[in-house]
Symmetry: C2
Amino acid sequence: MINKLVEKIKKTKAPIVVGLDPMLSYVPEHILKKAFAEYGETLKGAAEAIWLYNKELIDHTYDLIPAVKPQIAMYEQFGVEGLDAFQRTVDYCHEKDLVVIGDVKRGDIGSTSAAYAVGHLGRVQVGSKKLSAFNEDFATVNPYLGTDGIKPFVDVCKEEKKGLFILVKTSNPSSGEFQDQMIGEKHLYELVGEQVAKWGEECMGDSYSYIGAVVGATYPEQGKVLRKVMPKSFILVPGYGAQGGKGSDLVHFFDEDGLGAIINSSRGIITAYKKEEYASFGAEHFGEAARAAVEDMIADINGALERR
Amino acid sequence: MINKLVEKIKKTKAPIVVGLDPMLSYVPEHILKKAFAEYGETLKGAAEAIWLYNKELIDHTYDLIPAVKPQIAMYEQFGVEGLDAFQRTVDYCHEKDLVVIGDVKRGDIGSTSAAYAVGHLGRVQVGSKKLSAFNEDFATVNPYLGTDGIKPFVDVCKEEKKGLFILVKTSNPSSGEFQDQMIGEKHLYELVGEQVAKWGEECMGDSYSYIGAVVGATYPEQGKVLRKVMPKSFILVPGYGAQGGKGSDLVHFFDEDGLGAIINSSRGIITAYKKEEYASFGAEHFGEAARAAVEDMIADINGALERR
């Protein structure tokens, strides 16, 4: 799947991923009305609203981008109905041939990690059958529990040719509280980065490993260090746009050939219609506003890569 | 909710929690047959099987125990249908007045952590309504992302009188890979424990904080240290039984009054019917075998507490 991701990035010339993180407050009024008219102000109504919103965002952007990253928390908050909308979103993105990165940040141990891995990336044994459940292409994973937590995910990735992005240095202001602590001469995030590189050695695609890392756009200096610590790991970079990261901050996350990193934007794209620069589209045309924001983001990042 | 947990532990004289972690391979043949006859070898069939299994386990143990801890991964592996079985399990446990600890190990930042928090512990705004989704009483949370990740959970706990158990030192063999690293004079897990104590200060129940910690039964020495680092935090202790922890190892997790800790057993209880000592019950009577295993576990732990 890492090979497919690299191919799609080359083809679209867009090292970006659109974060499908649908808060209900992001959904335009006309869609909310439609969903609530059908199902009432219920969890099912909310799930229908975010699904309709996603579908239109996907329809307006899928040909420009290699991948999407639905954040499962935004669906899970609406319970089982919300997770049904997550499933529909994943399936629809696959119909459009998009690579789907499930931003699930799961992490447990042994058979429990294995259960998450088969549920999100693999197939689960039911009697004589092996069945897919959520079926994303990549999943984000938390490393706090160590190798016991990661290994079951790696095993499923090997079998299914799927991939991981493991949290190394997250984009939030307090990420340093534990991740920046010094362990001897190294920060904790470097130690985790070294492990990611090690875990990734046994799952190499053509040029990159199936096992990647998450490093926040808000920490460009750390990105520079980690790019070297994990030379074969693709880096998923959240925090562009709304969280403060800019294209020029991001060049060090990439290799010389402009590969090796993929930049996520969520709010910056999916709520573009609410911003002054795209407001002229109007809420009815939020999909077109998202498309314009995607085009601008691609230009910003490619421009920065060309100028370096 | 921490007050309710403490009251129920006092009333049942059982500082234990039953882990409802239903692997399909644990479910007796007669239940699998029934579920597959109705829904086929499908995700829905698997979900029905684990729900029927859970229901019988709960019916045979609810009057002996204060709480259950369903591990959501075991449901999530069956996708949306599995999560529907999780929801039914949580609801049924509430009918039986059990405290439900959702072992979800979620952890993200800002609005994303807030979404997990409302989905699992709080109520989500849908139009003019506030609706409950999964509605557990406690959730387990991963601290790797720092205060930004924990604060939204704490806010929901304050509003809804719910609680957290934050991963500090996990029970698995490789938990030391990152958690045992020395930061100056302290291990990372001590640093996390200090933060748990700090986060917990603002959410005090009558005698303990709403914000507890997870410390594995397999690390009794670390448990002794952490009991002092977090004097007001309840400690959820996994790893009893199948993972190797024994009652006598666990006394240091408790305060002098025998409170302050709650010991989890999953496989040791729910697959008791497969063990030599309870095999005479037979697979048809797996609920009764679980009940006997619960009684033995309570006696083991209370015996160890009395002997110290």
